[in-house]
Structures are given as C-alpha cells and as structure tokens.
C-alpha cells in the first residue's frame, strides 16, 4: 500500500510539473494578455512625441483608421490593370463609386445627388451635341508618385491596355467607347456608335469617368515588357513596383491584414484639389474570418469603419452604450441604393404563362416582416417608398410619375387580394388538396438563395409562407454558394423557380442599368450570365423603351419612359423586390476618430466608408476624439 501511495505522490508530482508548466505559461499569458492594453496605451501617448517613421512595426492607434468588412482573404496584386487582385482597399469598384485611396479616377461619383466631382479631371466634362464625343482636361497639379505629371496619354494607355488584355476596363467599356485620344492635358473620348451612327450608350461613357482607375502609361509599358506581352501574365502581374497617384500606398500585407500608408507627397494637397493631406497616416484592414469577428472588433474599438450588415445595429448605442453610429440616427440608418430581388424563372411554364400567379405571390408576401426581421428595419418599407424600378434616393424617385402607377403598386401581405386574383385567373384548387393547380397539376415552386446568407434566407422563408397562405406550394432551398452561382447564372436552368439576386445599385448609368437588368432582352440566353435579367423575361415593348433611355436627354421625356417601364414592370411582375438595401454598410466607432459624415451635417459626403467615390472626402475632415 505504501508503494502505491508513493507512486501516487510521484504521479501527482508529474501533474504538478504539468500544472507548473501550464502555470508558467499562465503568467506569460496574463502578461501578454495585458499587452494589447499596454501597447495601445503607450502608442497613444508616445506617438505625438515620436511620429512613427516609415518602417514602424506598431501602428499608432491615433494615426490609423481601421476598417472591417471590405478585405476578405489575402491580397493578390497591386496592379490596377490586372484582374483578381483581391485588394479591396486599393483596387475596388463599387456601386457607391470607385475606391480612390491608391489609384484615382477622373471623377468621383456622389450617390447622394448623382454628381460627378472632378478628381484627376479639371472641372466639368463636355459632351458634343450628338453625344458622340466627350472631352475633359486633366488637372495640371495631378502627379504620379514618381513625380511625373498625370497626362491625357495615361488615360489613353489605361483604356487601350484594358481592351488589349481584356481586364475590367476593357471588357466593361470596350463596347461603349471606340477610342480615347490625348492632346496634351485634353482627353477626348469617342463613344462607340451603333448602326444609325448614334452612340451606343452615353451613360456607360460616364461610368468610365467614375469607375476606371487611371494607371501610368510608362508603368504599363514596363509591365507589358516584363510579361513579354502575354495577356494572362499582364492580368496576373503582382504590380509590386506600381506607380500610383492617390493619397495612400501599400505599406504591408499578409494573410491577416493589409495596411496602406499615406503618401506625404500626394499631389492632392494642392489648392486645386483638397488643399491638404487626408488625416489618418495609416489605413489598416484586419482580415477577419467572418462578419461576426468583424462585428466583435468594431464593438471592441479595434475597427473604426465597418462595412458589414449588423442586425439591430441601434442596440450598439441604445443598449450597449457604445460610441458607434451610422449615417442616420434613426431607421433605416443608412442610404439604401439597391433592392435585393426575387426573380421568377421564365423557363418554368407555370410562371412564364401566368402573370397573375407572379403578381399574386408578390402581393401576398409580408414585406414589413422581411424588413423587420431580415433587415432589422435598415430599409424603408414599401409603404414609405412604394415599389418601382427605382432605389429610394430622391434623385431616382423623381424619375417616374408616382400617381400614374399608384394603382399598380402593392405594399404586401394582401392575402385576400392575391387569392381573388388567382381565382379570377382560373388558378384554383381543383382536386381539393388545399393547393392550387394549373393544367390539372399542383403548382409546386421553390424559393432559393445561397446557404448562410441569413437575411436572404429569412426573406425566402417569408415568401414560402405567403405561398402557403394563398394555396401555392412554395418550398425553400438553400444550396451552397458555389452551386447556387453556377445554377442561377445559367440561362436554361429550371432548378430554381424563385431565386434571389440584387440588381445594380448606383452609378452614373443608373437607374437605366438596373431597369435593363430587370427587363432587358440583351441578357436573355447569355451563358454565365452575371449581368442581368436572370429570370429570362422577354418583353419587346419594354426592351424598346429601355434602349431609348441612354440617348434621351430631355427630362420630361425621360420621366415618361421610366414611368411606362414601371407600369410594365408592376403589371407583368417578372421579379419583385423584397427590401431596400445599402450597397455599402457604414457603421463607425467614434472612440478614436470622429467627425465622420452623417445625414444631417450638410456636407453632402456620402456614407461610402470614407473610401469610395466622393465618400473619400471624409478622410480629409476626420478629427481625433479629445
């Protein structure tokens, strides 16, 4: 027995040693755990005394603006003429405008009023009378990071290389711009012409002005040389030696973060542009695993600007008392620019042949419940902003005659109206099983969106519930994203009956582009269709109206066209929007930085995360708290 006791003692000692090991780990942990606080505190106090030199290994908190919700995964490239750079902070075109931290566009788009604010361009652009030519001048002050001036030749080279290698610029605008010419600082953009000699689409030419990062001609030549002219090599070039014109440049990137540093020689501090440098010295984005991680970091004050959907965001300040705010203090908190939409698949006969069925389902859906649950009221309701083809901004709402279509609009949850419509159309329950039939067969549809897109899934559940209420069987289906995107972009698919996707949000070519996506014939039958009309709806009348819009400049005529299109859309119901939604979420934590743009500050800076389009103006006006 003694021996056993001795052995036990020995065993306990071993455990003790292990406990000791983990114990000796522990002090290190707690020390280290205190480290974040420690490092943060000295950083704040030290920084003013010794401004971090280039090569700093800790980013002073009061010189760094932290982001979340933009960069997922590791940066691939810094080349503005490539593709798949996965470099959200430096190279990203959004509906809210191009991100001009490192590379700059000719104009900055402001989705609050649809205006184009000159950036590399000097003053306004001018159209020729027949809209076949657009001219503009490059600012004299505009310089590349190597000190050479930005010239019209750079714009030409940027467009030409795009067409040559087929990057986003080339494939996106090649069909609308035939060529660009340079004459000193003067840029002439020649619109592509159709058979009648009219420009194909002047609106898309405007998109070029706000959506194309201009690259330096000399640097493009360097890339082409080192790639031996090989298209794929040019597209995949890492661009480590890139020349930029924007206020920030790359500082550090790995699979956990990307950091940009301010270029203190930035040309934009010239009086002809901003008159100063942007306030934060560093722009940093930690690469979070998912939205939840980004949200936790925002709450902890490790993120200043968060581009993520956060459910019940008002709780962060109302209940948790955190210094977090959004663009508007009250719901919907942000500016909604797009409408996540449920598309009817016209390859399915019962849907293609029965507009009454399409409209009845759409009328029965309880949108208020979708907006309250899926969007936690971060969307105006369809009673506030009646449904049309327009997003809720004042500019777009003014583009159609509200009174003319008032009879056609519906706010939802109209079960009796929907039932009556189906009865009148002869879509009734003929065999008494509780479900309506068509051609002697039970109507059975599915409502589909990608798995894990929880707000969309909630919306699809509500659509299915609406079906049940009116006697139409709708089941939900949530395939993985990789499968979903393969199916819904296929023009001949019959797997998904009602499925979700968002049309375009805002750009100079909207709402035309969105209307085209809703009903444009141009997309029907296109393979790998990421462009529009995912339900394959064909309406020649609508198509003719859509094609008139880009060439129409008279505002009354334009309003008439949009009103007619809205009438067709609300009568035919090829798809129905489920909610309004911002194209960028914009929540800020003001524990370090303040003076972010807000809806009532009169500055007209859009809530575009201080980075996109004219939203970047916010960076020049940020202030430190205290």
């Amino acid at each position: 027995m003694k021996k056993i006791l001795a052995l036990l003692l020995a065993a306990m000692m071993v455990v003790g040693i292990f406990a000791g090991c983990s114990g000796s780990d522990k002090p290190a942990e707690t020390k280290a755990a205190a480290a974040p606080a420690e490092t943060e505190a000295p950083a704040v106090t030290e920084a003013p005394a010794a401004p971090a030199e280039s090569g700093a290994v800790e980013l002073p908190r009061n010189e760094t603006l932290y982001f979340a919700g933009q960069q997922w995964g590791t940066v691939n490239s810094w080349s503005p003429i490539g593709t798949n750079q996965n470099n959200s902070m430096a190279i990203a075109g959004n509906s809210g405008g191009y991100r001009t931290l490192m590379f700059e566009t000719l104009y900055m788009y402001n989705f609050m009023d649809g205006s184009l604010v000159p950036l590399l361009a000097d003053g306004d652009y001018a159209w020729s009378d027949d809209m076949t030519q657009l001219t503009l001048t490059i600012k004299d002050a505009a310089k590349w990071s190597d000190g050479t001036p930005v010239t019209a030749a750079d714009v030409v080279r940027t467009f030409d290389i795009g067409v040559q290698v087929g990057n986003n610029t080339g494939t996106g605008f090649g069909a609308y711009i035939s060529s660009i010419e340079a004459d000193g600082q003067k840029v002439t953009i020649n619109a592509a012409l159709n058979d009648e000699g009219a420009p194909v689409n002047p609106l898309k030419v405007l998109d070029f002005l706000t959506g194309t990062p201009i690259a330096q001609a000399a640097w493009i030549d360097t890339v082409v040389d080192r790639c031996g002219g090989d298209t794929v090599a040019i597209l995949n070039d890492a661009g480590d030696d890139v020349v930029w014109s924007g206020p920030y440049t790359k500082y550090y990137s790995d699979d956990q973060k990307v950091v940009l540093i301010r270029d203190d020689n930035y040309w934009g501090q010239d009086a002809s542009m901003w008159g100063s440098l942007p306030v934060p010295k560093y722009i940093a984005h930690t690469i979070y695993a998912d939205n939840a991680a980004g949200e936790t970091a925002l709450k902890a004050g490790e993120v200043d600007v968060c581009q993520q959907f956060i459910g019940n965001i008002q709780n962060l300040w109302e209940k948790d008392g955190l210094p977090i705010s959004t663009y508007y203090e009250e719901a919907p908190y942000g500016v909604c620019l797009t409408m996540p939409t449920a598309w009817y698949n016209m390859n399915i006969p019962v849907l293609a042949e029965n507009p009454a069925l399409r409209k009845a389902i759409a009328m029965a859906v309880d949108y208020d419940s979708i907006i309250a649950n899926a969007m936690t009221n971060q969307s105006p309701s369809f009673s506030d902003v009646p449904r049309s083809l327009m997003n809720p901004t004042d500019g777009e709402q003014a583009l159609y005659d509200h009174a003319a279509v008032a009879d056609l609009q519906w706010a939802g949850n109209d079960i009796e109206g929907a039932k009556a419509m189906l009865d009148a159309a002869g879509i009734v329950d003929s065999d008494g099983d509780g479900w309506r039939d068509w051609n002697g067969e039970k109507i059975s549809l599915n409502a589909v969106c990608p798995n894990g897109w929880s707000d969309w899934q909630a919306a699809m559940e509500i659509v299915a519930a609406a079906g049940e209420k009116i006697g139409v069987e709708i089941t939900t289906l949530y395939p993985e994203w990789s499968i979903y995107q393969t199916v819904f972009t296929s023009p001949s698919q019959t797997e998904y009956a009602i499925f979700m996707w968002s049309p375009d949000a805002a750009s100079p070519s909207n709402p035309w582009q969105r209307v085209n996506q809703m009903m444009g014939k141009v997309y029907v039958g296109a393979e790998n269709n990421w462009s529009g009309n995912w339900g394959q709806y064909v309406n020649d009348e609508a198509d003719a109206l859509i094609n008139q819009i880009p060439l129409t400049t008279d505002s009354a005529e334009l309003k008439d066209l949009y009103t007619k299109l809205t009438e067709i859309y609300l009568t035919e119901v090829p798809s129905f929007s489920l909610m309004y939604r911002p194209s960028l979420f914009h929540a800020v934590n003001e524990s370090v930085w303040t003076n972010f743009p807000s809806g009532d500050d009169g500055r007209n800076i859009p809530p575009a995360d201080c980075t996109d389009g004219y939203g970047i103006a916010a960076l020049y006006e940020l202030e430190l708290v205290g």
Partner: protein, 334 residues
C-alpha cells in the same frame, strides 16, 4: 529479422496502394460537385458588367487557363505530373495565387497551434485519467463528470465560451487574429508577446476539449487493466506495486497512442473551429473556404496533405507498436 522485413515490405505495398487510391479520390471527388468554380471567378470579375458577350469571353479565357475544358482523365494526368514537382496548380477561389503558396503561408500557423495543443491535451488527459483510476473516490467523483462534460462540449461551443468570457467580457485575451491588430510582424519582444497572447484562446479551446475525452478513455482502460488477471496474479506473486503499475500503464496506453497518432494525422481539419472563431490563420479555414468555393486544386492539395499525414503516422505507429507491444511484435513476425 527476415519476418520483420517481410512484414514491413507488405505494409509498404499496402500503404502505396492506399496512397494511389487516395490520390485518385482526392482528385475526382471534389470535381464531382455540381458547382462550376470557373463561373465563380468570372462572376467576381464580371459583376456590374453590362455586356453579356464580354462576360462569355472572360469565362472562356479562364476555362482555357485552368484546363477545365479538357477531359477529366487528361486533367488528372496533368495534376499528377505537376503534383510530383510540388505544383498543385492555381487556386480558383484565390486566383491567381498558387496553391503551394497558399498552403505554405498557412501551414506553419496550423502546426504551431495544433501540435502542442494535441500533445498537451493528450498528456494532461491521460495523466488525469490514470489518476482517476488509481485514486478513485473524491478525485474520480469530481474528475469523471467534469471530463464527461468537457469531452461532450462541442469544439465550437468551447471556443465561443472562451471568446465571450475571456476575450469579450474579461478582456484578458485578444479576440481575433494571430497577432495584435495594430502590429506589423517583426522580431521585437512586443510582437512575440502579442503572438503568445493571441495563441492562448485558440490553444486552450482545443486542449480543454481533448483533455476530457482522453481522461475518460484512459480512466476506463486503466480500471480495466487494474482488474485484469495478470495484475491479480502479479500481486499474488508479490511483485512490487510500482512494477505492476508500469505494466498497467503500458497496456492502458496502447489505444491512447493510436488516438494520439490519428489526431496528429488529421490535425489540419481539426483546427477549423478554432481558426474560424478566433479568425486565426491556418489551413483549416483555408480548406473550409476551398470546399465552399468548390476550389478543386486547393481541396485536392489539402486533402492530399491529410492523406499523407495519416498514412505516415499509421505507418510509424506500426513500427512503434512493435516496440511497445510484444503481442503486436509477435504478430508481425508471423
């Protein structure tokens, strides 16, 4: 010795056959998914593009580049040819990054997190389990239910609890990433401290869960062995207790060693939960995102690593078993 050689010769042949079948499955299974990753890359590039025919062009270009327009068997031969040279091709989801580059930058973090966590969890669990078997009474009464509870807490549950309690509420440890959000990797003491503090929560979330399971297993094995006839007989013969306990421990350890080897072999997938919840860098989350994105080259490469690791550890296990278990040795010689 001749028997030994014959035994291992046979084993090696079986492992090679397993390996070949595994490689074939690694290649073909992901490609049977009804998803088209080329469409995904095209979509990333084409979003917002109005011109449908331009999108088609992009699709064709990528199809050409990835060779997905070739017949499957040709793709397989190409895969084998390149894999031998360590080239697993280009990732779909992180195009144009090379698969080897993605794995290279992630695998260090996974091994540094998983290997110590698995070993520490295994050691602590076994010692606690053995103690429970010897001590019984009070120790066992506390340890047994606690172990059972811990071993049944799902890994993500444990990770979330640690995150909320020690990260969000107590703020003892950072909540995300492999190092401080305001740092750039360097060799300073501050950075190392930061890495260590970020290491804690993911590390303990793995250790705590594995301790419970190991302890429960070791306890039952030890109790079983303690009651075995040879122990009674040895006591009867008057053999020293310490010697007997040595026998008991050796016998009880055997299945535990198999468990250790297997968890080392599959550690890449095992790190997934900790990596996702703590936004910790590593191969688990890489593999997860590869699967959701139908990124065949990346899936094939990561599963190949797991296959090779499992095969290697089971092979090593066979050798080690010969030394620690005479019964196995005897069987091997037969």
């Amino acid at each position: 010795m001749k028997g030994y050689r014959k035994y291992f010769g046979k084993k090696i042949i079986w492992f090679l056959i397993t390996f070949v079948i595994a490689v074939i499955l690694n290649f073909f299974l992901p490609r049977l998914m009804p998803a088209d990753p080329v469409a995904a890359i095209t979509g990333k590039m084409a979003s917002g593009m109005t011109d449908a025919s331009a999108v088609q062009e992009i699709y064709k270009r990528y199809e050409e580049e990835f060779g997905t327009n070739k017949p499957m068997w040709q793709q397989f031969l190409l895969f084998c040819k390149n894999a031998i040279r360590g080239d697993f091709g280009t990732s779909f989801s992180q195009y144009p990054r090379k698969v080897s580059d993605i794995i290279g930058s992630a695998i260090g973090w996974t091994i540094a997190l998983q290997l110590p966590a698995i070993i520490v969890g295994w050691l602590l669990g076994n010692i606690l389990g053995a103690l429970a078997a010897y001590l019984r009474k009070g120790w066992d009464k506390v340890l047994m239910p606690v172990s059972l509870f811990m071993s049944n807490v799902p890994a993500f549950g444990m990770a979330v609890i640690l995150l909320v309690v020690f990260g969000v509420n107590l703020k003892w440890f950072p909540i995300a990433g492999g190092y401080n959000f305001d740092m750039i990797p360097n060799l300073s003491w501050n950075f190392i401290k930061s890495v260590i503090s970020h290491y804690q929560l993911p590390f303990w979330s793995i250790v705590l869960v594995s301790i419970g399971g190991q302890a429960v297993g070791m306890r039952s094995m030890s109790i079983y062995e303690l009651n075995a006839d040879y122990v009674k007989y040895a006591r009867f013969l008057g053999i020293k207790d310490s010697k007997i306990v040595g026998y008991v421990f050796r016998n009880a350890m055997l299945p535990q060693i198999t468990g250790l080897a297997l968890s080392i072999g599959t550690m890449i997938g095992g790190a997934l939960v900790a990596e996702i919840i703590f936004s910790y860098p590593g191969l688990g989350s890489t593999m997860y995102s590869a699967v959701t994105a139908a990124d065949y080259p990346l899936i094939s490469a990561t599963t190949l690593i797991i296959t090779v690791m499992v095969l290697l550890v089971t092979f090593l296990l066979d050798i080690v078993y010969g030394f620690i278990d005479p019964r196995v040795k005897a069987a091997q010689f037969d």
